[in-house]
């Protein structure tokens, strides 16, 4: 992110320095632990592996890796790699080594994600190999290719969750309510001392019209878009049913046609409904529940019908056409990092999504928290 871009930022709060471990040391520690993990996994496979029980083998390796991390974290306060690099794992609000439950939750979550990527890659490769050996099973190669291509996702989630968090708390740390800190930092890491632990992990982005909505709340609001529309929910159900009924028997081309037709029908439905809602009220039901509003950039008002249509169309294509998912990822990054938080659909619609200025900041904060807790209404 280049400094000095469009939009003015408020003064930044002082950088978090105290308890947060350096990313370089964590990478070194993870490298050491990975070597230990590979050795341990191989040992488990040699000792207990069964060529006819591949799922059991995978489970045993996961169990061994989790136990390695959990036991060392519970007893030594960190895995051997972290200890060598001068790091320790602290459970929030607790002195000394993490509790057994926290250490286990942390270890089980992260080792599951770390193991899934090689497993998926292996499964995809095996499927491709099986299909090339047997010409009758061509479609297996497509499935295998998809699995292989998406095998990076677990590692990406794991890495992004650590790098994207200002405190370096990845999915493992969140599952275990822990934080990785320098070994010399012996004190209790208290939740109330951590900036933005509960909400607003980044300083607010302010525009002339109001506060820019957080990207994760916008994403969660999207998941709630059908909360006031039982008819639309039923429509999705009907379309999904239509797509799963093999209308013309086993002919794969007609099945593909039905799936394609129902998808196009859904995209048209989505664009029509979204355009009407946004042009009329500047929000969908999800935005309303989250306390957000879609506004023009020059003044606080819903975008025109044409602009709303362009916005809805770009959004629908990005979300529902798998080929365009990289654009969706780019939009999410723009929403998260940009000074005005505008994704590609906002650019198309000339819009910006704000925390509803009609609500008090406290009411808006509560609605965001409800979205993050997954409970509304």
């Amino acid at each position: 992110m280049a400094p000095g871009g469009a939009g003015r930022r408020p003064p930044q709060p002082p950088a978090v320095t105290g308890p947060v471990a350096s990313k370089g040391l964590r990478a070194a520690a993870r490298a050491i632990d990975s070597i230990a993990g590979v050795v341990l996994g191989a040992a488990v496979l040699v000792a207990f592996g069964d060529a006819y029980r591949l799922w059991t083998d995978a489970f045993l390796v996961w169990l061994a890796l989790s136990l390695y991390e959990a036991l060392t974290t519970g007893w030594l306060g960190a895995t051997p790699g972290k200890r060598l690099c001068g790091l320790r794992v602290a459970e929030l609000d607790r002195l000394g080594a993490p509790s057994a439950a926290a250490a286990w939750r942390r270890a089980a979550t992260s080792s599951l994600l770390l193991l899934l990527t090689p497993l998926l890659a292996l499964a995809g490769t095996l499927a491709i190999a099986a299909s090339s050996a047997d010409p009758d099973r061509r479609e297996l190669a497509v499935v295998g290719g998809l699995v292989l291509a998406s095998s990076f996702v677990p590692w990406a989630i794991w890495l992004a969750s650590i790098l994207g968090d200002p405190l370096g708390r990845g999915v493992g740390d969140r599952a275990g309510t822990t934080i990785v800190t320098a070994d010399r930092y012996r004190g209790v890491v208290a939740i109330r001392d951590l900036p933005g632990f509960a909400d607003a992990v980044r300083p607010p982005r302010l525009l002339r019209l109001g506060r820019v909505a957080d990207a994760d709340v916008r994403f969660r609001a999207r998941l709630r878009r059908l909360d006031d529309a039982p008819v639309l929910g039923a429509a999705i159900g009907l379309l999904a049913l239509a797509a799963s009924v093999p209308l013309a028997g086993d002919d794969p081309r007609s099945v593909r046609l039905v799936v394609l037709a129902s998808s196009v029908a859904w995209i048209v439905l989505f664009v029509v409904v979204e355009t009407r809602q946004v042009a009329a009220t500047g929000r969908t039901r999800g935005h309303e529940l989250a306390g957000l509003v879609i506004s023009r950039r020059d003044r606080l008002a819903p975008p025109s019908t044409g602009r709303s249509f362009a916005r809805a169309l770009v959004l629908a294509l990005m979300a529902y056409v798998p080929l365009l998912w990289p654009l969706l990822g780019a939009s999410l990054l723009m929403m998260r990092l940009g000074a005005a938080g505008r994704g590609l659909h906002d650019l198309a619609g000339g819009t910006v999504v704000l925390a509803d200025p009609a609500l008090s900041p406290e009411a808006q904060r509560q609605r965001s928290m409800r979205m993050r807790l997954g409970r509304v209404g």
């Binding site: 006819y52 797509a243 799963s244």
Partner: protein
């Protein structure tokens, strides 16, 4: 197809019984069931090893699975009861505890996808039912309802010699109970087909999709009667159990607690 991910109710307690059921099913599938279940040993076995695996798998399947005509005749399939029709395996167990197999069958799974799908539904729908009913009530409803659902299937297929395994009947009980206990619950669901999308939909939509799509799966082995019976049993069981004063009081407390957590009281 609909894949549920989570529901939108806050969790006030650790769902130990649901967790234990998940672990039990996984451990049984991975370590107790013969290796033939893990990659679907094909019927046209080629080498000696695969023949052995097929034999182990079939013997296990017929020993611990519910075979409808056995339950009706109270006689093991190996003794060839008169009322049993249909194809059966060459490898049948000699001594079988027929009534016990009603119980064991609901902890067995035919393949890893069968296991994964069932446990996903159990986790999403079971946790909240456990929280509302209490641990013992939930466990009783799950096991008892699962056995009753199998019995309903037996009643509808009295002469079938095909073994029935899987937790789906018991999980349908949990889903039926969820509909009664959390009628306004919404479930974050991945809807595949009709444009892949992730959205909160009412639990009833997920259950309807689950129920209807099972008819269009090519697989012959879906016991939809057991699912239907399970859902009805779950609905009836939850209606009865929620009349217990302690259960009703717990539900009220949890609603208050959930309101407090999201700050509605302020």
């Amino acid at each position: 197809m609909a894949i549920p991910i989570r529901d939108d109710r806050s969790r006030a307690v650790v769902p130990w019984v649901t967790l234990a059921l998940v672990v039990a099913n996984v451990v049984i599938f991975l370590f107790v069931q013969p290796s033939g279940f893990q990659f679907g040993a094909s019927e046209d076995a080629v080498d000696q090893q695969q023949t052995w695996q097929l034999r182990d798998r079939d013997e296990f399947l017929y020993r611990y699975g519910t075979v409808p005509c056995e339950v009706v005749a109270r006689q093991a399939l190996a003794d060839d009861p008169a009322d049993c029709v249909g194809p059966r395996s060459d490898f049948l167990p000699d001594d079988k505890a027929i009534l016990l197999s009603l119980l064991t069958a609901i902890f067995l799974h035919a393949s890893i996808d069968h296991l994964a799908g069932n446990l996903l539904f159990l986790w999403v729908f079971g946790a909240h039912v456990e929280q509302r009913l209490g641990r013992a009530n939930f466990l009783g409803l799950y096991v008892g309802g699962g056995v009753l659902a199998s019995l309903a299937f037996v009643a509808l297929h009295q002469r079938s010699a095909e073994p029935l395994i899987g937790a789906s009947g018991a999980i349908a009980v949990a889903m039926g109970a969820y509909l009664v206990l959390v009628p306004r619950g919404r479930v974050l669901t991945v809807i595949v087909s009709a444009a892949l999308q992730v959205v909160y939909v009412p639990a009833a939509v997920v259950l309807a999709l689950f129920f209807v799509t099972q008819f269009f799966i090519d697989d012959e082995g879906v016991a939809w009667e057991a699912h239907a019976a399970g859902m009805l049993i779950g609905i009836a069981g939850a209606l009865v159990l929620s009349r217990i004063p302690a259960v009703r009081e717990r539900g009220r407390q949890q609603e208050l607690d959930a309101d407090l957590r999201v700050g509605r009281e302020f």
